[in-house]
Symmetry: C2
Subunit: 601 residues, 2 copies
């Protein structure tokens, strides 16, 4: 319905008005770039997404990949899209010039990725996973491994996967049983089974580079015994060309409810005891390597959820402006003309809720990407440290909040379309199905809640929290106008309650009621998430109100900024107060959940 | 995973312990029944559901009906299931002995239907829609029409549909354009197009009896000009046998995201100007007839949503008891054995939330069914009137609450199963897809909110509300034990706030801020729904606590009742307080939504 896949005005607001992304060009790393090069790469991404990705989004959903026992088959549009993406150089977008990359900021790469995840997340996954895997290799593999694999991954000749999960070990990586036996040549022989491996097999590239977590024989129990290996589908000959088939095989495809264009695989490693793997970095450090990357992957999951939410929002908005149904007072006689449904209060509510979820989620993810850029360009170790602590603290929220509220937005989009929303003739139900993966993968939202409440909050003696308070305070100090000030005043009591709550949680975590508290962890993630999101909306409100007051704005711009202010009001008015329940549950140390017994269900 | 499709213990609790369904046998209408005949018909329903419906639930989802331009094709299991259901006499279950029915209470028929909607809602729809259509004909059609169609519908030789919606007129039936022209023989010629007509075409029965809303030429504008017609797929010959094809044709099948086994159709009436229709009752009274039935249909939608929720709950419960992952303190060393996931607090929370949603929703729907039975057996016009007023008031909640919280339960079931929940190899994602229809059809939940806040609340000078307060008070007076008393005390402040809020709303509805209020109608439905549901849980708590205190209960029974108490505690502790937000939005007459302008989005 809407002409743009993603509103360029919205992206420009997020990037340039809120985050001053242009100022990154003052940093040495990005000094060869300017706003024009940023915009040009976004233009390229938009064009490719529109021409090669968006058109087959539904077709890929209806025609999921099949496996004939030898090869995986999929609709040809996927390869065409992948090839075009690879040829554009976007896979290497964030990598160093020295590595053949474009050395672009994370913030800009995220803006580029918005077009792809909004229009066709499943075809996009092949290249995004390759970027993530190449990034691990770049950061942790020794030079010879890096030279063999990374350059070809950045051109898309090779693709990559992350092979962590096993049939019996999902959230609990401590229990993986895939093992690695040292061979005489310094390589390893890998044996085991991995499950839910996205892009684990296909014919899109000349080789597939699996990053596999496995335990070297004799390693310590638990996560401290996990190592990381590069395991290619084809071993390389002396010229670095894919040659002999490695002993990795596709045991089967998994049939998901969404994201159907991306193969989800069960992989068997070493069925013939001849699966060659190459250790990445040091033995037993695999989880650490993977988790350094996982944090960026989690930001990516959050952003994907935001953009799928955005896609449904925009579609339902267009629909609501065109579809007529019923009448609105005072023109509600049977002989009056029917009204467009956007005029009905409840439809307006559902659109405004979506807007607050998806633009709020985008704002949070861009903020996180900006922190990644600061991490990569920090002038002092102290500045880098502060940024890392804040990013660490925010990461569970960046993953979980959009992946909870993105599908909620999609659910509202379905509701706005009514019976049509329920049909596959309209795109919104697919948005929901695709998005439903996000609260599950890369650490379920339940895991994120535990991570936040029991680890991230206390890391480095709570330095992340101190930093968060500092940056929030700096933002709030910028508020000059009444709406922003009012919103800050509405948030204030929640900030105070949160400040009081945190030490109570700290004490209880060490105490006897630990299990009651852990059962209520989702409440803490909710509170923390809504406070962070309120901050994100206040940031948007401050900038918008400033623009409305200071500048001569066009009519279009005025409408845009007024919409931002109204969405911020909505969020503080309707969404933040829901956390009163969570404060109550946590501060009363409710045992409603933890006291429940298995045989009482 | 679980052995029973629906726990018989749960059904017995709802029917016999909470609602004293057995006492209905003292009424003349049900005097030929007793608990044994009730149980016997439930046994029959369970057996048919298990043997003929449950096995092809997924197959029907994967192989939706197709249309070759002549006929609709579907997997043969659907017809076998339909025929078995029809042969059992269940279609006629609630009808009079005189009509060839079993004259069973609605409450018992609902218990029977639980097995079908929990195990295969889409194959079930064909017979359920036939019951609803036959019921309309029974109540409003003249004898000759009734004689022609109803008996054969009750045997399943003919099936029925409700043809209300048109491509341009969904929620707004005032705008239908299907028209009816009187013919010389006293019948009518129907012309128009209907959309989203479930079971609108298929080969399961010898004839399909469409109940069609249309406007007779010259009728008043709006809903006051709508009449109701019987339009068969085949006209009947003088012996009442289906003979000549009527001019109704299948324009196409709609492809839904769930409920795939049920055909959803676009039907063309009178393309050749020869579609014969028979007026039901009086002209221009069609919507009134349809709505009398619609209220029962809405209870059915609520119950279907509850049972799909229940189905996912039970599956995820079984999964959580078997699947191991991670460890729980104090046994959380890497060398300790992994724990079943039900031991993790956050999984317990997600199971308890589901239990509170689905058993609460079941309880509400059975309560409504019991009111229908009281309506049919009331000894005095006054008693009947009181019951009708209460049922009218509760109906929007009975439709909307389960259809909001049933899918929420399914969403939690997906989350508990993690990556597996996201795959079509497990049943929970289908539960969600099937259930997602329920907040949309038979009046969207937005429509229900408006219906409650602007109409039902004030009907008969608020007599429904008076009756609700009376029956709630009577229930609360029965509480003898501490947990129930505590729960009532927790609800009390919400009841007081609601009592204060209602007159404020009444005043505002007539005032200038009407549009702001209408945009916040969902908040009122939420408050009213959570209060009603708290009452439902307190009813269950009172009965359970009584049983725990008064009787010598078996270990199994004790666990059952303790589970009920805990779910009630959870609901009042975690779910009811969320309405604080809704009270705040409504009492402040927030205009966050209504002030939003179309061009600000």
């Amino acid at each position: 319905m809407s002409e743009e896949l993603v509103s360029r005005k919205e992206l420009a607001f997020q990037l340039y008005e809120l985050l001053d992304t242009e100022s990154l060009c003052d940093k040495e790393r990005f000094s060869e770039h300017n706003k024009d090069t940023f915009d040009a790469v976004m233009d390229t991404a938009e064009k490719i997404a529109r021409e090669k990705f968006a058109p087959h989004n539904r077709k890929a959903d209806l025609n999921e990949p099949t496996f004939d026992g030898e090869k995986v088959h999929m609709i040809p549009e996927v390869k065409e899209a992948f090839d075009t993406y690879a040829e554009s150089g976007l896979i290497a977008g964030r990598f160093d010039f020295d590595d053949g990359g474009m050395q672009l900021p994370e913030t800009i790469m995220m803006a580029c990725s918005s077009y792809f995840t909004a229009s066709n997340p499943s075809s996009t996954a092949y290249s995004f996973l390759t970027v993530a895997a190449a990034n691990v290799i770049k950061n942790f593999a020794e030079q010879s491994i890096k030279d063999k694999f990374m350059p070809r991954m950045l051109t898309g000749e090779f693709t990559g996967t992350m092979a962590l999960t096993e049939p019996h070990a999902g959230s609990s990586l401590a229990d993986i049983t895939t093992n690695a036996k040292p061979a005489d040549d310094g390589t390893y022989r890998i044996k085991g089974s991995k499950m839910f491996i996205s892009a684990g097999d296909h014919e899109l590239s000349d080789n597939i580079v699996h990053l596999v977590l496995a335990k070297i024989q004799g390693a310590p129990a638990g996560v401290k015994g996990i190592s990381l290996f590069v395991v290619p589908k084809f071993r390389l000959d002396e010229n670095g060309e894919p040659a002999q088939r490695n002993d990795v095989s596709l045991a089967g495809l998994i049939h998901k409810m969404g994201y159907r264009g991306t193969t989800s695989t069960v992989l068997s490693f070493g069925e013939k005891d001849d699966c060659h793997g190459y250790l990445v970095g040091e033995a037993h450090q695999g989880l650490k390597y993977m988790f350094l990357m996982m944090n960026e992957a989690r930001i990516g999951v959050g952003f994907g959820a935001a953009m799928l939410g955005y896609s449904g929002y925009r579609y339902s908005l267009g629909y609501a402006k065109e579809r007529t149904q019923g009448r609105v007072a005072p023109n509600n006689k049977p002989t009056d003309k029917p009204a467009t449904i956007i005029q009905h209060g409840d439809v307006k509510r559902m659109l405004l809720a979506q807007k607050s979820y998806v633009e709020g989620a985008m704002s949070l993810c861009f903020y996180a990407a900006r922190l990644v850029d600061e991490l990569h360009t920090a002038q002092t170790p102290e500045a880098k440290q502060r940024t890392a602590e804040l990013l660490d603290l925010l990461t569970p929220v960046v993953k979980a909040w959009p992946s909870e509220f993105g599908p909620k937005a999609n659910d509202l989009a379905i509701q706005i379309l009514g019976g049509s929303g329920y049909t596959r003739e309209y795109p919104v139900e697919q948005c929901w199905r695709d998005n439903r993966l996000n609260p599950i993968h890369e650490g379920t939202n339940g895991i994120q809640a535990l991570d936040l409440m029991t680890r991230k909050l206390w890391q480095a003696n709570g330095a992340g929290l101190v930093q968060l308070q500092k940056v929030m305070g700096e933002d709030f100090a910028k508020a000059q106008h009444p709406v922003s000030k009012q919103l800050i005043a509405e948030l204030q009591p929640y900030l105070l309650k949160l400040q009081k709550l945190i030490p109570v949680i700290g004490a209880e975590l060490a105490g006897e009621n630990q299990n009651a508290l852990l059962a209520n962890a989702s409440c803490f993630l909710t509170i923390f998430g809504q406070v962070v999101m309120s901050w994100m909306w206040i940031r948007q409100a401050i900038t918008s109100e400033e623009a409305l007051n200071d500048n001569v704005v066009s009519q279009d711009d005025e409408a845009f900024y007024r919409g931002k202010l109204q969405a911020a009001k909505y969020f503080l008015d309707w969404e933040l107060p829901l956390t009163d329940r969570d404060f109550k549950v946590l501060s009363s140390m409710s045992d409603s959940c933890s006291a429940m017994q298995e045989n009482w269900f």
